[in-house]
């Protein structure tokens, strides 16, 4: 087992080195302009430039411009979406009333809301929070709903037999049993929200990681574009890891390895 891990690690390092080498070689071969394929060293240098300040702010300014929208919309989506999904599953009439609304909103891709948000809220913070909120809430509601619906009947029946009331049944049986599914919904939601803010910033924004990509594109600075994409991927990985950490704390009994 230990040996197995070493071999996997070896393949990782080998593949990535080969990939980086191929990139470097292709860029240095002169067959592509730096505009089409920015050399790796230029991309590294672009990190430094953005660190020092690029287009009205250093890297933290841009990060915060994107991140605050995501955190705000995600928090709103969790505060509203989890109770909504749970109630839809737990109280028949709430489910009947809300399901058609969710069914209509669900197949509309979040980026499709960007122009409407601009019409309704302008191009500032509220419009972006609106788009990201719409993106964030759907998976939260859907998974919270399913989490409660999928509570094993034998658990519910066992608790009922022991005389548990409806409220305690929800809070002490259904919710704990569904928590892993709810947490998965939160992770899907956070990833989707991050992708949505990038899309929104590609359309219109004065700052943020998506704005860096668009600005790099407009100024023919491919290295900045590639650097911003790497930054976006890094944040995505970190946010997912943070939620996985929370998940392990909240549902230590869940052994699914996804």
């Amino acid at each position: 087992m230990h040996r197995e891990r070493l071999v996997t690690l070896g393949y990782w390092i080998g593949t990535l080195l080969a990939l980086a080498g191929l990139w470097w070689w292709a860029a240095a071969s002169g067959r592509f302009t730096p505009h089409v394929l920015p050399p790796p060293q230029d991309v590294l240098e672009s990190f430094g430039r953005v660190m020092d300040g690029y287009m009205g702010g250093d890297v933290w300014t841009h990060l915060w411009a994107s991140l605050r929208v995501v955190l705000l919309s995600f928090a709103l989506a969790v505060l509203i979406g989890v109770p909504l999904g749970v109630l839809m599953a737990w109280i028949e009439s709430v489910g009947v009333v809300m399901s058609p609304l969710i069914a209509v909103l669900r197949p509309i891709p979040p980026p499709a809301w960007i122009p409407l948000a601009i019409l309704w809220f302008g191009i500032g913070l509220p419009g972006k929070v609106f788009v990201c909120f719409v993106a964030a809430i759907v998976p939260v509601v859907v998974n919270s709903f399913l989490a409660i619906r999928q509570t094993p009947p034998e658990l519910l029946n066992a608790a009922r037999t022991l005389g548990t009331g409806r409220t305690r049944l929800l809070f002490e049986v259904a919710l704990p049993s569904g928590l892993p599914v709810i947490m998965t919904g939160l992770r899907i939601s956070l990833g989707l929200t991050w992708a949505t803010i990038v899309a929104a910033e590609l359309v219109v924004a004065p700052a943020g990681f998506g704005f860096l990509i668009m600005n790099g594109y407009r100024n023919f600075e491919s290295a900045i574009m590639a650097g911003a994409m790497i930054g976006i991927a890094l944040v995505a990985v970190l946010m997912n890891a943070a939620l996985e950490f929370v998940e392990r704390r909240v549902v230590p009994w869940d052994s699914r390895d996804d």
Partner: protein, 267 residues
């Protein structure tokens, strides 16, 4: 690895439940209408349901940009299919081979895991530089979006095949090629189709994003309609196009669900 946005298409729901849902949906539309009647917002801001329907009906005859509604629908579907077909053509075989051949898995996985956290739409500007402003770049963004779930599920489908099945076939003297084609492949079909379904949804989302972000070279597509609605202050056009996108997205998903039940008859 993948989180499958779990689904609840309860087709067992009776006719009555369907009628109830339709009634409730009508209630939501009525509420929207009531809000418009009472608050009288500017139609640029919130049109009534009738105005939205009228705008779409008008667009079915009068052309906007490159053509009427039908042209925009066809163009969007065309771009979508181009990117999606490519993703399926590469993703399914690669995923299956990765599940079957260890070496390939070990080489491709690091590259894949490295590229995966980049949101597909972030590729749009590079896609434009590499493939031009219209079909090529949009197809690449859709490809990027649909590829990941298709590859992962094809891979997992193979990995999750009961080892005893493979063992049994081997004992009976089946060659590796026969094992792959006649045992592993059929057994992994349910996972594979699930991946195609997620890929379709992801690709559809990417299409609209690509048409909005990377559509500058084109004057067609549903994303273009949404954008024109915003730029010319026709909220009814924007909302109408969004509804068309939603209906088409739901129809595609429904179609694959039906197909799934046809193909995977043993589950």
């Amino acid at each position: 690895m993948t989180e499958v946005p779990a689904d609840d298409n309860g087709t067992s729901g009776s006719q009555r439940a369907l009628a109830l849902a339709a009634g409730v949906a009508a209630g939501w539309v009525a509420l929207w209408w009531l809000v418009v009647l009472v608050l009288k917002p500017s139609p640029d801001f919130l049109p009534s349901p009738a105005q939205v329907v009228q705008r779409i009906a008008l667009l079915a005859q009068a052309s906007l940009g490159d053509g009427t509604l039908w042209l925009h629908v066809v163009m969007s579907l065309y771009r979508f299919l181009a990117g999606f077909a490519l993703a399926a053509a590469v993703g399914i075989p690669l995923g299956i081979l990765m599940g079957y051949f260890r070496v390939l898995d070990r080489i491709v996985t690091p590259i894949f895991e490295l590229l995966r956290p980049i949101p597909p739409i972030a590729w749009a500007p590079f896609a434009i530089i590499w493939f031009g402003g219209s079909l090529g770049s949009q197809a690449m963004v859709i490809f990027t979006a649909a590829f990941a779930p298709i590859l992962i599920n094809s891979y997992r489908g193979v990995k999750m095949v009961e080892p005893s099945l493979v063992g049994a076939a081997r004992t009976l003297g089946a060659r590796p090629r026969v094992v792959l084609l006649e045992v592993v492949l059929p057994a992994s079909v349910p996972m594979l189709i699930a991946g195609v379904r997620i890929g379709l949804a992801a690709g559809w989302m990417a299409l609209i994003a690509a048409e909005i972000v990377a559509g500058d070279g084109a004057s067609s597509g549903l994303g273009y309609l949404i954008l024109v609605g915003q730029r010319t202050l026709q909220a009814n056009l924007t909302i109408g196009a969004m509804l068309v996108i939603g209906v088409l997205g739901a129809a595609i998903d429904y179609g694959v669900c039906r197909l799934e039940r046809r193909v995977v008859t043993w589950q």
